[in-house]
């Protein structure tokens, strides 16, 4: 259980959270028309006769959108409903040309499923937690009103109108802003693994309606919930919960009651405000869309959907730990995002084959490089780095030299800096820039002898039991060797000379 609590004047309160995430389905065409779904086109350029609801126009389902919803359902281990159908949700608005949204109320395509959020001690999630998913249904997006184009009129852009959305409805299983944030991040990750949604929250490809209620700790009854619409970042989702929970507690403790209502989030102030209450909520008059036959999915279609699923985050993470021997932290970080694991796996393969060892033998080295060294160098260079130079080949070649003891960790970073800046070959850089370790025992021995001679007192202290001074001698030697000495060789010779 989360320990997230609101300290009220009358005692401790807990929060109950459910999320409805709207995820735009990745497809070239809209849910029921052939119009393009491209983002950022000129207004009203991606509009078919169907999207504009011209008289006599009829919807025809786009099989790719259905396929993506089914694959998503499979990725959250959900029941796939072989029979589903579309309903009309009726309301008037200028961004909704048909006067109804085609959605799925009564028979959604995906039933109950679940999603695992990972423990994050620091983030306030003490252990892994399973969040239930109620359903996923497919529906049309609406268009967009533009109020800044004319002094007295509003303009309508129908480009987005009819684009396929998946509405992914969680159970009210989350009890803290951190859990909700983790849920959205994990869901986004799964959607992007599956390729059913690009997860781009800034462009509105993913947005959440946040349902929040509060109750006294231990109270079995749920409180009245509010729904804050269209929240478009993980941080905002967490802010909404934080704000709503506190607002509701204050309200109740001041003798008020929470009204079941729809609210809007104001990004600037980080607060929510009422949009409409239940009393003036629309009566959507849902009924089965008579223009569309029920969707009946065949086993062969489901088999194809299942076969097309990639390895998903949880399975990949487990495999990274068990097969590659990575730490839980590394495994989690590397599998969180599609780009991260893709880069890692490419580099892992390239490095293993460059070095001639199995992947498992180099996995930790590649993981550390991928998670901390490489991003660090990239970040420190800023605009000077050309990301195109960050090829797997170049990085594998650096890791190979490091593995062979030819270069130090510091030299690896320096070489990588030059690679990122100039795109030159790492071996050539190591040679021509003198970025190689000296493993020549003669030169190292000479340097050590000089240091021992110059520091007789310290030698005595060390031999008298002050072990810590070993580091001092290493440092002095490396300094004398201008950092190019192979540390393993330095250690070995130093040990021999000091202890001998």
């Amino acid at each position: 259980m989360s320990s997230y609590r609101i300290q009220g004047a009358t005692g401790e309160w807990e929060v109950v959270i459910g999320l409805e995430v709207h995820a735009q389905v990745t497809s070239h065409a809209k849910l029921f028309s052939g119009a393009s779904t491209e983002f950022g086109s000129e207004p009203n350029c991606n509009v078919s006769l169907i999207d504009a609801a011209m008289p006599g126009m009829l919807p025809v389902p786009n099989a790719e959108c259905i396929r993506q919803a089914v694959r998503t359902g499979m990725a959250i281990e959900a029941q796939i409903n072989k029979y589903s159908r579309f309903d009309r949700k009726n309301y008037f608005y200028a961004d909704l040309p048909q006067g109804y949204q085609i959605s799925q109320l009564y028979h959604p395509i995906v039933g109950e499923g679940q999603l695992l959020i990972d423990a994050d001690e620091k983030g306030g999630i003490p252990q892994d937690k399973v969040i239930g998913i109620e359903r996923i249904h497919v529906e049309q997006d609406a268009g967009k009103l533009m109020h800044d184009q004319h002094p007295t009129m509003s303009y309508v852009d129908l480009n987005r109108c009819g684009v396929a959305l998946m509405e992914i409805v969680s159970k009210p299983d989350m009890t803290s802003p951190a859990e909700a944030g983790a849920y959205v991040r994990k869901l986004r990750s799964i959607l992007r693994y599956v390729g059913s949604c690009d997860g781009n929250m800034e462009e509105g490809s993913m947005r959440a309606d946040v349902n929040v209620s509060v109750r006294k700790v231990g109270d079995p009854e749920l409180g009245t919930r509010t729904e804050t619409k269209n929240v478009n970042s993980v941080r905002f989702v967490m802010q909404v919960i934080e704000h709503e929970a506190n607002r509701q507690v204050d309200l109740i403790e001041d003798g008020g009651t929470v009204v079941q209502e729809t609210r809007l989030f104001d990004v600037a102030s980080g607060t929510t405000r009422s949009m409409r209450s239940k009393e003036d909520a629309h009566d959507y008059r849902y009924f089965p869309d008579p223009d569309l036959l029920p969707l009946e999915l065949e086993d062969s279609f489901l088999d194809e959907c299942r076969a097309s699923l990639p390895e998903l985050p949880d399975a990949k993470r487990a495999r990274y730990e068990s097969e590659l021997g990575l730490t839980p932290y590394n495994a989690r970080e590397l599998t969180a995002e599609v780009e991260t694991f893709a880069r890692f796996e490419t580099l892992l393969g390239a490095t293993a084959s460059a070095i001639g060892k199995p992947e498992k033998a180099v996995a930790t080295q590649v993981a550390n490089w991928s998670l901390s060294v490489a991003p660090g160098v990239m970040k420190s260079l800023g605009d000077e780095a050309n990301p195109a130079n960050a090829t797997a080949e170049a990085q594998a070649s650096i890791l190979k030299m490091q593995d062979a003891g030819e270069i130090s960790g510091g030299q690896a970073k320096e070489i990588y800096e030059i690679v990122l800046r100039d795109g030159r070959a790492p071996d050539e850089i190591a040679d021509s820039e003198g970025l190689k370790q000296v493993s020549d025992t003669g030169a190292i021995e000479a340097a050590i002898d000089a240091i021992i001679a110059a520091n007789g007192d310290k030698v005595e202290e060390y031999r008298g039991g002050k072990d810590k001074l070993f580091g001092f001698f290493v440092g002095q030697t490396m300094k004398a060797m201008q950092g190019k000495a192979n540390p393993a060789v330095v250690n070995q010779i130093l040990k021999g000379k000091l202890d001998g």
């Binding site: 006599g56 126009m57 009726n90 200028a94 006067g99 109804y100 008059r285 849902y286 009924f287 223009d291």
Partner: protein, 493 residues
């Protein structure tokens, strides 16, 4: 100029193909008849140039020795519910007045592809809602028929009243109709012509202004069973743009026409013998049985026990779908916009729809909105859907005992315009015999049987199994041959 207006679809097609006359001569003849019949108010707009251009194309094709289409050289009337590219399409409403589609409905395109041309867009009840053609924004259509000894304008039926009038008055050899709850069959019966509503899904709904999507079905209206067969064949076919379209080949109905009904069983549903049904209608029904028996069919009594619930269920389902289908007429993108000074979006919707829809359309939008409302949905819409399933099951059960159903098309003959316009329930009762086949999605046809004592036509209805248009057409042909119905309205216009 020779007058070709007595000719039907088959005569024209064969005459043009055989070189007896040109398609242009035919088109000119009908264009002139249309122009001379303006007082019937059958057309909202006329398109003589369309008819001529199609005719010229057919004549050129023939001159080049190439194959001609199934409707080559036949000028037809197009119900103004079908969107026609570049030609105003209104659904007889004010809200769509002046709306000119930039696309062609699948059915009309199929007809043009088959070599037909368009005389004009035919008047109808507004958004196909009505049974008398009195709800059009563009005025009532007058039937060409009159009661003996009376000059009162008679109803041509509805909603395809422009279509029935044009065909009965010989100003078009054939016309398209649409049937949601009888809108092809009832007007055909009122005007002494044939009309068939095929199995739901035979004709694409793409580009047809929607009334009630789960019921709407296009079909031909013409003066003979053969003509209906030819034209339906041209109209029908799978359309990937309509999800409810039947993915089946279109049979060659014309070639397979046969009035020999040996081995066929025709069911007579006892529940259609309702109180208030006109004596003469019952007489025509008896006559129909005799004709079909004479054609070799066996007549059997059957039961369709949920018949009496069909009409109330229909008047829930159809308005429910309509209330949603008509939401798109909001003044935002096309058609009428009424934007009072200082109005906001909601005011614009209200003003536009208040101004743009007629009373009957508003009545049905209100009924539909009501039956779908929270708290009423189960009691009305859901219940009506259950009734619909039972009505369909009645027919399924009946097919164990018979191949076809014979019934009257309407409970009465045509009535004078204005007679029922103040009484919506009386008006709705017109569709009592037509609605069950609509709810069940079955092919159904009306063929003229006889004139009543007032000299007005009466029709007989044949309902077949799903996809068995052939069985319906064949039985229709058997009646046609025996009825010998050749009465036509005396020209007064």
């Amino acid at each position: 100029m020779t007058d070709f207006t007595a000719l039907g679809v088959k005569d024209i097609r064969d005459g043009v193909a055989g070189g007896s006359f040109t398609a242009r001569e035919v088109a000119e003849s009908f264009n002139a008849a249309v122009e001379a019949a303006a007082s019937l108010n059958a057309f909202i707009v006329t398109t003589p140039d369309h008819a001529l251009a199609a005719a010229d194309a057919v004549d050129a094709t023939r001159a080049a020795g190439k194959d001609l289409g199934a409707m080559a050289g036949v000028p037809i009337g197009m119900k103004d519910l079908f969107c026609t590219n570049g030609v105003q399409t209104t659904a007889a409403s004010h809200i769509l007045e002046g709306f000119t589609p930039q696309y062609e409905s699948t059915v009309s395109q199929n007809l043009w592809d088959a070599g037909a041309g368009m005389l004009g867009k035919l008047n109808l009840d507004q958004f196909a809602m009505g049974s008398s053609n009195e709800t059009s924004y563009f005025g009532n259509v007058s039937s060409p028929w009159r009661k003996e000894g009376s000059n009162a304008a008679m109803s041509p039926g509805g909603s395809s009243g422009g279509s029935s009038t044009a065909v009965a008055a010989r100003i078009a050899p054939a016309a398209t109709g649409t049937d949601t709850g009888g809108s092809i069959r009832q007007p055909a019966a009122f005007t002494g012509i044939c009309g068939i509503k095929p199995t739901y899904g035979r004709c694409s709904r793409w580009g047809v202004v929607a009334f009630a999507s789960s019921l709407d079905q296009a079909g031909p209206m013409a003066r003979s069973v053969e003509d209906c067969a030819i034209m339906l064949e041209a109209m029908a076919g799978f359309d990937p743009k309509d999800s409810t379209s039947l993915q089946m080949d279109v049979p060659n109905w014309e070639a397979a026409l046969s009035a020999d009904l040996k081995g066929k069983k025709v069911g007579i549903p006892r529940e259609y013998r309702m109180d208030g049904t006109d004596e003469e209608i019952l007489k025509s029904w008896e006559q129909g049985k005799a004709w079909l028996r004479d054609a070799g069919a066996e007549i059997v009594d059957i039961s369709l026990p949920h018949t009496k619930y069909a009409l109330p269920a229909y008047y829930i389902i159809a308005p429910a779908e309509a209330s949603s289908n008509l939401a798109r007429y909001d003044g935002v993108r096309y058609g009428l916009r009424d934007l009072p000074e200082g109005a906001g979006l909601q005011d614009m919707y209200a003003a536009t729809r208040e101004e743009g829809f007629g009373d009957e359309v508003k009545r049905r939008v209100l009924i539909g909105t009501y039956v779908l409302s929270a708290g009423f949905y189960d009691a009305y819409y859901n219940q009506a859907q259950k009734v619909r399933a039972l009505v369909a099951r009645d027919f399924e059960n009946a097919w164990a005992e018979c191949d076809l159903v014979l019934a009257p098309t309407t409970p009465t003959a045509s009535f004078p315009l204005g007679d029922k316009s103040d009484d919506p329930l009386a008006m709705y009762l017109n569709d009592v015999f037509a609605v069950p086949a609509s709810l069940a999605g079955l092919p159904a046809m009306s063929v003229p049987a006889m004139l009543n004592a007032d000299g007005l036509p009466l029709g007989l209805q044949l309902v077949g199994k799903a996809f068995d248009e052939q069985g319906v057409l064949n039985a229709g042909l058997a009646i046609q041959q025996r009825a010998g119905f050749d009465a036509k309205p005396e020209k007064w216009w």
